[in-house]
């Protein structure tokens, strides 16, 4: 299990390869990569993530352990960046490894659904119109509730 909360950029493909290399014989690897989105009608200049790193590590570690136990994962890694980022840059990557594809998919989704509402990161978007804090979405609470 590898949990990283960092201001440094990371290389999604290099992280996937390192993750797979540690336990490839398991059979099924799922990677979710969340990137800085930029909408054509109001392009984002910079996305800045505020973070409480100590709590983030605690929350993500608990989440990874829960998913690993529930879906019998061979391995799990969560990487989450904070600080300023440009459109197209990776923000978050969740990787799960299992003997079968369904638990690997389910675990990655459970982690993302909980991470959105339970990990202490806050997004601020800067566009030509100014900057604003992204509001929490009720859809994210619903996505989390389906795992209960």
């Amino acid at each position: 299990m590898d949990i990283r909360v960092t201001q440094d950029p990371f290389d999604p493909g290099a992280e996937s390869n390192a993750f797979i290399a540690r336990g490839a014989a398991a059979g099924a690897a799922v990677t979710f990569t969340g990137l800085v989105r930029s909408l054509p009608d109001d392009p984002i200049l910079t996305l800045t993530l505020d973070c409480y790193p100590e709590l983030a590590i605690n929350q993500l570690t608990g989440l990874a352990a829960t998913a690993a136990a529930r879906f019998h994962l061979a391995d799990v890694t969560i990487i989450h960046r904070y600080g300023p980022m440009q459109p197209g840059e990776p923000i978050v990557q969740v990787m799960t490894l299992s003997a079968h594809r369904q638990p690997a998919f389910d675990a990655a989704q459970l982690i993302m659904d909980h991470l959105k509402t339970d990990a202490p990161f806050w997004k601020k978007e800067q566009t030509a119109q100014g900057e604003h804090w992204v509001e929490a979405k009720s859809a994210d609470d619903k996505a989390k509730a389906r795992w209960e």
Binding site: G34, L49, D50, C51, Y52, E54, L55, N58, Q59, H80, I91, V92, M112, L115, K116, T117, D118, A119, P120, F121, W122, K123, K124, W133, V134, E135, A136
Partner: protein, 83 residues
């Protein structure tokens, strides 16, 4: 006791952290929020909608009715929007 503020709460209060000495009657997160809101108008406004304020004690998420016993660091912040 140290208090940390994040995201728009930090901006509205214009500080990322502060050290406070609480009066003995402040024993929970809810009590702390009341006490902070009573100190000045900016805090009163920033903390107005209590349902938008989340809290952690010693880097563990807690509810508003959680006791402050043993708390050396309390963090206050809006709902998370990461991922």
């Amino acid at each position: 006791m140290k208090i940390l503020y994040f995201a728009w709460l930090r901006e509205r209060l214009n500080k990322g952290e502060e050290d406070v000495t609480l009066p003995p009657e402040v024993t929970t997160i809810a009590g702390l929020l009341d006490w902070l809101a009573g100190r000045d108008e900016a805090a009163a406004l920033a903390l107005e909608k209590r349902s938008l304020i989340k809290a952690a004690i010693n880097a563990k998420l807690v509810q508003h009715d959680t006791s402050l016993v043993g708390a050396h660091t309390v963090a206050l912040f809006p709902p998370m929007t990461g991922g």
